[in-house]
Point group: C2
Chain length 240, copies 2
Amino acid sequence: MPELKVLAFDVFGTVVDWYGSIAREAMAAPVGLSAEAAQAFALAWREGYRPAMQRVRSGELGWTRIDDLHRMILDGILPRFALEHLTEAERAALNLAWHRLDPWPDAPAGLLALRRRFQVCTLSNGNLSLLADLARNGDLRWDLILSAEVFRHYKPDPQTYLGVADVFGLEPSQVMLVAAHKDDLRAAAACGLRTAYIERPLEFGADGVARGVKDLSRSPDIDFHATDFLDLARQLECSP
Amino acid sequence: MPELKVLAFDVFGTVVDWYGSIAREAMAAPVGLSAEAAQAFALAWREGYRPAMQRVRSGELGWTRIDDLHRMILDGILPRFALEHLTEAERAALNLAWHRLDPWPDAPAGLLALRRRFQVCTLSNGNLSLLADLARNGDLRWDLILSAEVFRHYKPDPQTYLGVADVFGLEPSQVMLVAAHKDDLRAAAACGLRTAYIERPLEFGADGVARGVKDLSRSPDIDFHATDFLDLARQLECSP
């Protein structure tokens, strides 16, 4: 087995807490939703994400960045939350909430530990400027920010996973995808990448596991199972 | 005039010292050239760079990364330095000298200062993995590493300069190219970017100015003229 060299990280949900961050912005001015409505708003915005990307993956839409997909979804859900009164400028500013997502608490230090032994990069469907803003805001020390925008394909298209190996001049098995989503990991494994699952039990809110939208079980087809990045660093024997 | 937001940096010669770094590696084992021959070797390797990229820009070669262009040039110049004896493994290792170029002494601190006020990114013809290695080795804190590899065009093609503005969702005039080469800056200006010239008098060795291969004169068509990144940070009123 060739030596593992690069860890490629899914970002939304794996590195940053989109649910808590979007809900927080939806409670603040000018949106001003209740806590309960703000959580529903975060879920509704995120629920539009896969169908929107599918329209790009199928060719129905030409290449469209996540920033623009997020805005299309936002405009679609505003009536459901009685937010049609938001101005164009307010909508544009709210859409950038995805550039301000907070990292999970272990993420900055966990990445630093993992970076002592491996190159660490993103492999996200988020666009490059969004990922650059998250890195700056969260003090995330990537060796390289890679995005669907570089490959002009969204995950789980194979061009994204194989693209990481190609950029680094490596075999797919020298790259490991790190993600909180098993479908992403299985698509990477089908391309020959190694895989590490991170639990992130709060990704869909405090009751995500109870509601059955978050599955923390161990899966024998996934190479590593870790509670967070520091746990993964221990399992990969990165010096603290 | 819209507000300046992003500084995009040329890398070879502007951020890192390719001449001194390549000459140093050419003096060490297994190459083992004299100081004089090692300097000629660095210049010869670099001289092949523009013609090789031109073959890609003209369409004679399909998209080819700088790593592969560097290797083609290397194989071509080895006989001139009586280095045909280098093995395949030694040539491959030597080719990666371009991933180990040292930053100019002011570069890490200068970038940190500039980063307090602007987003800083690369815009280099170097490939992504090369730029990621330079960033790690030199502790260069980029917000984003952008490369000809992302745009599938080499500078001075307009797609590269305009590509930076597009990635950040900005007008071209909100981006400034920072480079030690006036032809690069003029191509950026033709696309509407602002421009900052950095002197780098040692780029072609201690006698580069005397030999006339390095021109440090002020040019009225270039917006800023700085001795180094710290000087540029002062001129752009970045807090120290």
